[in-house]
């Protein structure tokens, strides 16, 4: 785009002149270096230059964000394969959460703003104004991502584990000083506020230019191009969404400094007005790509303009009001859950219209009139990906089904199907169609473009598939600690392979971009329409193009009434189906939501569990036939009704019993609120694992309780439990004979890679087994030794100084079900590096073995934890299990 002369009747303000001069000085110097001149397009107009700056910055964050996943998935694979982990829990936690932040905002959001901005200006023939407002938006945007990274230390030793690490998801009050054990740096909140301001400035800039166009074309505009309707939708949705996270982040910041009321549930509702809206803001990338590009390549107008308008309007109206569908399992009023579910089903309608309209736009196009270049191939992938990801959305939205899916890898699969196969694929279509315009050169290598498409499609598809397989087993998302069944291990390894393929595929793209910038054929656009320019650019990604790029005269033969009749028939079917699904699922939805939000009225003889989810263990108070006060242990009788009331301290948690043969139990527990559930205990006595299902800090993987189901009367072996597969709860610990057992602790402070540790079985009499906590298992990621020195030998030095004995005891404890506590049978000091013999004469009954109380842990390398830096502490239980003694 050439620099447009602008009439100037008075000089700009001094500060603007200063900025202009400074920019010119920097630009002219850097432009002498070919690399900078080409990459940042320093000889072009300011709009192109800033857009290239945004593109380069988004690629930078994309690379960093992609590599962040290497701080997580390879660690998961190492855990799966029994290999040493190389990162601390803090670093693993931070890597995963920052992966989300950098990919979603630094990469995807920034690229969306860059491309939408320049396409809007180009397609509408506008002269861009307010350069420094645009610059300010870009600078603030990227500054926000630096702030969200949080502080890091270069001296005395590099340490970047003080990530705020609140991540994409929101676990209020996680991160708030005085309210949570995991305290973020306030830079995190300032980062969010900067991000909001940056994006709002961009939206205001777009509004100003849209008004410019509107004023100059008033009375001449018959219809706005369909794709532009969705650009306008973006400009409307950005303030509606970002204002709510601005409010939520500001509220957090006030709370951080001890000011203002605290209400984690309302804060989360507020946040999710943004969280939901943001996903739809990104979803506008493929939608706009379809409406913009498919008619260009089909060389005919969109099938039904009025349908496109209807889709844009419904999409824009419904998107901002769907916050609560992310909080179905919290104690929100049932009517609000039901209403949100209904409205969320209704937002299927604009997507249904869009995909029908776009698909029908291609009907009548002959094979020889259509070219499968990189643009259209990525459009095709995005079309399929939106179906794969989008059509699982109704599953999530059905509250009664969401109980099975919530926080499992199903959600990660659904999200990545949308984020990668739909949004990113649509984004690549736009990039292949628009980048030559920015670079001023045609794509260098069609073969690299083809290789990029094929390898990306394979990588992303495999990645989504193995995430889903893990989800259907009940595996939690973001989990470093998981059951090591052959299927899970296999799926995790394959997931890692496809992560590597997905990232490796982008090397083809990066190579093509660089070759294009330096060796690509110059793009000439004289005499071409915008559509022809797009076709010409896309054609350079095809090795043997045969389809002419020239526009062709289109004569409309199918009357509008017939086309709109088809649209109406389709939408009628969709509406009828939606109503049917709402009617069919409403009773269970209302029932489940009511159960979560109101105290149960259980039958006589029920057990009452009062649970508090601490960071990172469950405090359990029991009343009813069994009385007790336990940590991570819940004791009930087989088939007994169990009434749960649960809350949390420090962060939002989740109580999850991932049964497959019985109804799943899954509720979110939030500080300052009470969640309820009523369920019938499994009819088969045994040990059922109940992981915390919310990602509320670096040690959430160890946060696992056991539901110990005793026989109705007398004693019972675990034979039925084993033959029934433990009701399909995949997190159940393995079962092994106690006598002769040799339990080895791992790097995460667990016996045999399992929490709870293996369930040991024995007959009454003398029971003997051994513990071993190898010295090699002690490190910064093992909570047992609370030395987080930057000295890599700090933990081992501590052990040597303390005779390899820690201030804790291992032992066997009887569960006293009438007086409410664990009664020690035998205990001994916890020693590292020595085989510890455990032996006792036991009567029939159920016992807890190991280290049965939480271990306090403070992460504070080199004394760098402060309220400004952020700090992390918690109480962790990992070295424990159940000992089941029966005749």
């Amino acid at each position: 785009m050439a620099e447009q002369p602008v009439a100037v009747f008075q000089p700009p303000p001094a500060v603007v002149r200063f900025f202009d001069r400074t920019e010119e000085a920097i630009r002219s110097r850097l432009a002498k270096l070919t690399f900078f001149q080409r990459v940042f397009q320093l000889d072009r107009d300011w709009m192109t230059r800033i857009t290239m700056l945004m593109v380069v910055a988004s690629v930078f964050w994309g690379i960093v964000g992609a590599f962040d996943i290497f701080g997580f998935q390879p660690q998961v694979t190492a855990f799966a394969l029994g290999q040493p982990l190389h990162l601390s829990n803090q670093a693993i936690y931070s890597s995963l959460t920052l992966h989300g932040i950098r990919m979603l905002f630094g990469f995807a959001q920034q690229l969306e703003l860059a491309l939408f901005g320049i396409i809007f200006v180009t397609a509408f023939g506008l002269t861009p104004r307010h350069k420094w407002a645009y610059y300010l938006s870009v600078i603030l945007f990227n500054l926000s991502l630096v702030l969200m990274e949080g502080p890091f230390y270069l001296y005395p030793q590099f340490n970047d584990s003080y990530f705020p690490a609140l991540g994409w998801y929101f676990y209020s009050p996680l991160g708030i000083r005085g309210l949570s054990a995991y305290i973020a740096s306030p830079l995190w909140y300032f980062g969010w506020i900067a991000l909001c301001v940056a994006v709002l400035i961009w939206a205001a800039w777009m509004v100003v230019h849209f008004l410019d166009w509107w004023r100059s074309h008033r009375g001449q505009v018959r219809r706005i191009p369909p794709f532009a309707l969705f650009v306008i939708a973006l400009v409307v949705l950005i303030p509606l969404s970002y204002v709510t996270v601005l409010a939520s982040s500001t509220w957090d910041l006030f709370n951080y400094f001890g000011v203002g009321p605290v209400n984690p549930l309302i804060n989360q509702v507020l946040f999710w007005f943004f969280g939901h809206g943001f996903v739809y803001i990104l979803f506008l990338i493929p939608i706009t790509a379809f409406y913009f590009l498919v008619p260009i390549f089909a060389k005919r107008p969109v099938y039904s303009y009025r349908a496109a308008v209807a889709a844009a309007v419904i999409f824009t109206v419904l998107t901002p009001v769907l916050s609560i569908h992310h909080l179905y399992l919290t104690p929100v009023p049932p009517w609000s859950a039901w209403l949100t579910m209904t409205l969320t089903f209704l937002i299927v309608i604009p997507s249904a219209i869009t995909f029908f309209t776009v698909w029908m736009t291609t009907k009548g196009v002959k094979k020889g009139e259509w070219q499968w270049n990189a643009v259209t191939l990525f459009l095709l992938l995005s079309f399929a990906g939106t179906m794969a990801g989008g059509l699982t959305g109704p599953d999530n939205n059905t509250l009664s089904f969401d109980i099975d899916l919530h926080n499992t890898m199903f959600i990660v699969s659904h999200f990545h199907a949308i984020a990668l196969l739909s949004i990113a694929a649509g984004g690549f279509a736009v990039v292949y169609a628009a980048f030559p315009l920015l670079a001023g050169r045609l794509w260098y290598s069609p073969r690299l473009a083809q290789a990029h498409f094929v390898s990306t499609a394979i990588g992303w598809s495999g990645l989504v598939m193995f995430m889903d397989l893990l989800g259907s087993d009940g595996i939690l998302r973001r989990s470093l600690i998981f059951p090591l069944t052959p299927a899970v291990v296999n799926d995790q390894v394959w997931l890692t392979v496809f992560v590597i393929v997905s990232i490796g595929a982008q090397v083809f793209f990066a190579a093509n971009v660089l070759l294009t910038l330096f060796k690509g054929e110059l793009l000439t656009v004289q005499g071409l329409s915008l559509d022809e320019i797009v076709r010409k650019m896309a054609q350079s990604t095809h090795p043997k193009p045969t389809v002419p790029i020239s526009d062709e005269k289109f004569v409309r033969r199918a009357p509008r009434a017939r086309r709109e009749g088809a649209e109406r028939a389709w939408i009628t079917v969709v509406v009828v189906l939606i109503l049917g699904v709402i009617v069919a699922t409403s009773p269970l939805t209302l029932s489940d939501s009511t159960t979560i939000g109101t105290p149960a009225d259980p039958p006589a003889g029920s057990e009452y569990l009062s649970l508090v989810n601490y960071q990172y263990y469950w405090g359990v108070q029991e009343s009813g036939p069994i009385v007790g006060s336990f940590s991570d242990v819940m004791v009930v009788h087989a088939g007994q009704w169990v009434a749960v009331n649960a809350t949390a301290q420090g962060a939002t948690g989740g109580f999850y019993l991932p049964f497959r043969n019985l109804p799943v139990v899954d509720i979110q527990v939030i500080p300052d609120a009470m969640s309820y559930w009523l369920f019938q205990a499994p009819p088969v006595p045994g040990v059922y694992a109940a992981p915390d299902s919310e990602y509320n800090g670096p040690w959430f993987g160890q946060d696992m309780a056991a539901l110990v189901v005793l026989p109705d009367t007398g004693t019972s072996s675990l034979a039925s439990y084993q033959s029934s597969g433990g009701e399909g709860d995949i997190y159940n610990p393995p079962v092994m004979a106690a006598n002769g057992a040799f339990l080895i602790a791992d790097q995460e402070g667990l016996f045999d890679n399992s929490v709870p540790g293996p369930t040991l079985t024995a007959t009454p009499g003398t029971v003997s087994f051994q513990y071993y906590i190898p010295t090699s298992s002690i490190g910064v990621d093992n909570y047992l030794v609370n030395v987080t020195s930057t000295d890599p030998n700090g933990q081992l030095n501590y052990l040597a100084a303390h005779n390899y004995t820690l201030p804790y005891h291992l032992g066997i404890y009887a569960i006293n079900t009438t007086e409410g506590d664990l009664v020690p049978v035998t205990t001994q000091p916890l020693r590292i590096g020595s085989v510890l013999n455990e032996s006792a004469t036991l009567a029939a009954g159920v016992y807890v073995y190991g280290l049965v109380s939480p271990v306090p842990y403070v992460y504070n390398p080199a004394g760098e934890s402060t309220w400004m830096t952020g700090s992390q502490q918690g109480e962790i239980m990992g070295l424990w299990g159940i000992l089941w003694v029966s005749p």
Binding site: A298, W359, V365, W370, F401, A569, N661
Partner: protein, 75 residues
């Protein structure tokens, strides 16, 4: 004989049209999505909690394809 023959399709115009390819994409994506939902078949509440939604999606996909096939071309 002697009458001009009706002009057949050009070789480049024979074969699978983009409309069909996009239809295939819809089927592949939809089958995937249905598979993801149906993989919870072993959950005891599946029939009441999940099946209505999954069935609704399946019927919608069939209707989408049928109406798309029946609808007039974009000409």
């Amino acid at each position: 004989m002697g009458e001009p023959m009706s002009k057949g399709a050009e070789p480049a115009d024979r074969g699978i049209t983009p409309f069909v390819w996009f239809g295939v994409a819809i089927v592949v994506g939809a089958v995937w999505a249905l598979f993801m939902g149906l993989s919870y078949y072993n959950v005891p509440t599946f029939t009441t909690s999940a099946l209505p939604t999954i069935a609704g999606v399946a019927v919608a996909v069939v209707a989408f394809l049928a109406i798309g096939a029946w609808a007039p071309a974009n000409e």
